[in-house]
Amino acid sequence: MQDKPSAEKLLGAARAFLNDTAMPQLSGHAAFHARVAGNVLDILARELELAPGFNRAETARLESLLGETGTLKELNRKLCDKIATGEMDLSDEKLKIHLIKTTMGKLAIDQPRYQGYKTAKANGWPEEDSGETIK
């Protein structure tokens, strides 16, 4: 167990420093990179909060789709092989829902403001599961 302050709190402090102290003193390329650095901290904060549950949900779906167990990377590799050979495609409703939810989960962390993500939500695409009910 790590001691306090928590990773979330430390990230928040780094973010506040960038926004309130560093950025007002920067211009040109450095200011641009500071903005990018701020966005990266936001990604990390969302990843800390959401990724553990998302990964549990994704793993459970992959195990059910493929009928085997393994690490997320191994399972995703196997899925890639099955898609590449044409053994699985979007006519498989279970695969379709899996890919939608997994991708929605990536966007919720990487880029929640991306228009394609907002459009997908407005069109009723399901969000990634929180993984809480999955052991």
Binding site: L79, T103, L107, Y114
Partner: protein, 328 residues
Amino acid sequence: MGELSKEQFEERLGSICTRRFGSPIENLKRLSGGASQESWTFVCDGQAYVLRRNPRGVQTSQNALPKASEAAIISAAAEAGIAVPKISFICDEDDGIGEAYVMDFIEGETIARKILRDAEFDAVRPNLAAQCGTMLAALHNIDVSALPDLPFSDAVGELEKYAGYLKAGGHPFPVFELAIKWLGDNLPEKRAPALVHGDFRNGNIMVSPRDGLVALLDWELTHIGDPMEDLGWPCVPSWRFGQHDMPVGGFGARADMYDAYRAAGGEIDEKATRFWEILGTLKWGIMCGVLMVSAFESGADPSIERGSIGRRASETEIDLLRMLMGED
């Protein structure tokens, strides 16, 4: 030779311009934008110039032309009546600033979001898609036999190249695999090879508030191939910059670009343009999720900008899923 400091670069560029133009340079400024190459502006003898340069040791566009070939193609395009900046000179090895060329500065905007949002472009925006179609028809009409040697890459070649990058990267992307399978099953019909710009999109065109499209820039990916590639790439969702309902660059309708292309003598294959839109989305996804990540992780470009682009791969995954389900 390692990478030059800004001071060394400025000193060398100064002596190059003194030799060629008989005057020192002033006001050297790095332009932001252009992740894979540098652009600088400067003034020499009262005239404004732009210098384009490949930074040493960083290779992110693996297909980029040598700067000298790029400059030769721009001159050929100018002869065909395509709006491009005039090339002043191409730097040689003795100049000691790497691969670079200098061209006249043109007044106009290249930042996509400004072109889409700033009120000063309201009047020209509705015509931009048609101007793109007219320009592309002229470009694709250039006699390729008269050009310097260029790489050839058509649908099969581009698909194989990017599938190869994905495989070599090793990270699994199930949605990219799905797109590769669909593209392999839906290859466009072969047509006569043409000069393809290869990076024709909002962000690489210069727009003025008075005349609309005033220059086509960024010729480093020019090749011989399927002209429909240039009509698909500007419609890739990532190049709509948030204006999803305007497929061409976030500013226009496909029909406006296609009609102008046809009116200027071009022939459109809409199955092929759709293929290239989907392949273009996949390519940008693999550039972000594989090539940029590899440049970042290898230390070739450890910048926060390069690293964070890797996390834009997911935007292309959601776009690809939507496209593969038959949505726009």
